[in-house]
Symmetry: C2
Subunit: 286 residues, 2 copies
């Protein structure tokens, strides 16, 4: 069984699962595991790893339109080096501070491969699901696309810049502001294309987006081989942790959000298309 | 740096860490990682693994005297076999049901070794810390000791019985009932001896306990080689997930708790002793 089938099995057996975070009472709860071989390229500092691992879970809280309250992490490694652990904790704390959440610690585990399991908890009385998109709404994204893809290419030559790009700001403030305007919302961690397909499936709708509108990160232009590569990095690579959402009032959403909002196109009855062509359901699968 | 030093570093840098669970608002939050080589002996079923991994975190919620609300888990394995995953989910759900919590899912991760990261969340307005023990109080434990130690010995010959012993009931109801009576409380996951030392350190006190009183699990008698071995399994092995607590009214605590409560001895000014001899600070270190 591949990971998507397995996730579907989990989703089918747990009515509350299948969104960016689970909802219990007024809480949203989300958990992730990241590890060295797949998530932290050579050159990723422990500070960046702490920031990014905790940030990925805070991003899921943001995608629910919730206020991030706290996060915990398990730090698993073959050895516990004091400098590494301190740097990791610094990164974890810093990313929590950027969104007004508290980093409240966690656990350690002996593990052959450096692995981080994170959980973040948020509060909201009105979570924004993936399933609320309606044909005719605009589909939008916060920030820029391709930042993490560019970082991965930059790590060998320019590790400092790559680490800076890797330490993203989870869109918690934007998510809170957009909650009142959004029909459906999720984060772009699997890439824009996969996000649109997942929203389409959850909302039983389609999307028509315009490639010209894509807010491609400037760092992508420094690493992309050509126009096709540039689009691949922006649309399919993922790991960007921006918010993809639908709204019937994009002007109000844009005015409310502290992060720039770009309208990419609109919600349709069915099919996910870019410039009138089917957009492949392909991206980063965790 | 060994794991205890590393944990001390985390505790020192995070004022809210260092108890069984972190406290944020009216929430308690706790996270753990378990993996095959250290936590799941050969013969452990995936159902038992799911039960036990989620149960370990629920036990930390119980140790705070909190009401368990929900749990999540990351299931990391080299392959996702449908039967394995279903069994794991069954175990995770069942243990949540025993304590009135909701299992709300989690994530999957490709991983060479079968590894589970769990997080549980509880609510309480009045968490019971490790630091509240006062000389003169009684020190008590719920349930029996040595159950997991016996299971580990039974796995090769009697895996069904071992799995049954491994699926413990987290003491959430007892923890809730005892919260009103307990000065200090923690779970016995590192073994009774380590728990007493940790309570002594957090509360700046000592303990004098009587070996005759130990509620040794009947399964221990089936596997222990002799009296010394029996005491080792009951006192040092750990992984039992009972509640160790202090109280100035053991009769009231016993009457309130749905799980049997045994008085082991009393809180003293300093030193951790059993039968008048120093009790080694030795046990299972996760």
């Amino acid at each position: 069984m591949d990971e998507r089938a397995a996730l579907a099995l989990i989703g089918g057996s747990l009515p509350t699962a299948g969104d960016d975070a689970a909802v219990v009472d007024d809480l949203v709860v989300t958990t992730d595991m990241l590890h060295e071989t797949t998530d932290f390229p050579d050159g990723t500092t422990r500070r960046t790893a702490g920031w990014r691992a905790v940030g990925a879970s805070l991003s899921d809280v943001a995608a629910m339109g919730a206020d991030a309250r706290c996060a915990v992490a398990v730090y698993a490694a073959p050895r516990f080096e004091e400098a590494d652990l301190r740097a990791f904790l610094d990164g974890a704390r810093e990313v929590c501070e950027t969104v007004g959440a508290e980093y409240v610690g966690g656990d350690l585990d002996d593990h052959e491969e450096f692995t981080v399991a994170t959980t973040a908890i948020g509060r909201t009385d009105d979570p924004v699901p993936r399933s609320g998109a309606t044909p005719g709404e605009a589909v939008c994204v916060t920030g820029t696309l391709g930042r993490s893809a560019a970082a991965v290419r930059l790590f060998p030559e320019a590790p400092d810049r790559a680490n800076d790009l890797f330490r993203f700001e989870p869109r918690v403030a934007a998510g809170r502001a957009l909650a009142a305007h959004a029909g459906a919302m999720m984060d772009s961690s699997d890439g824009l294309a996969r996000s649109l397909h997942q929203l389409a499936e959850a909302s039983d709708c389609g999307f028509a987006v315009d490639a010209e509108t894509l807010p491609v990160d400037v760092a992508v232009d420094d690493v992309a081989a050509d126009a096709a590569d540039r689009r691949e990095l922006a649309v399919h690579y993922g790991e960007d942790f921006e918010l993809v959402f639908t709204t019937d009032d994009p002007a109000a959403a844009r005015a409310a959000s502290p992060t720039p909002v770009t309208v990419l196109g609109e919600v349709t009855e069915s099919g996910v298309e870019m410039d009138g062509e089917p957009l492949a359901d392909r991206g980063y699968t965790h």
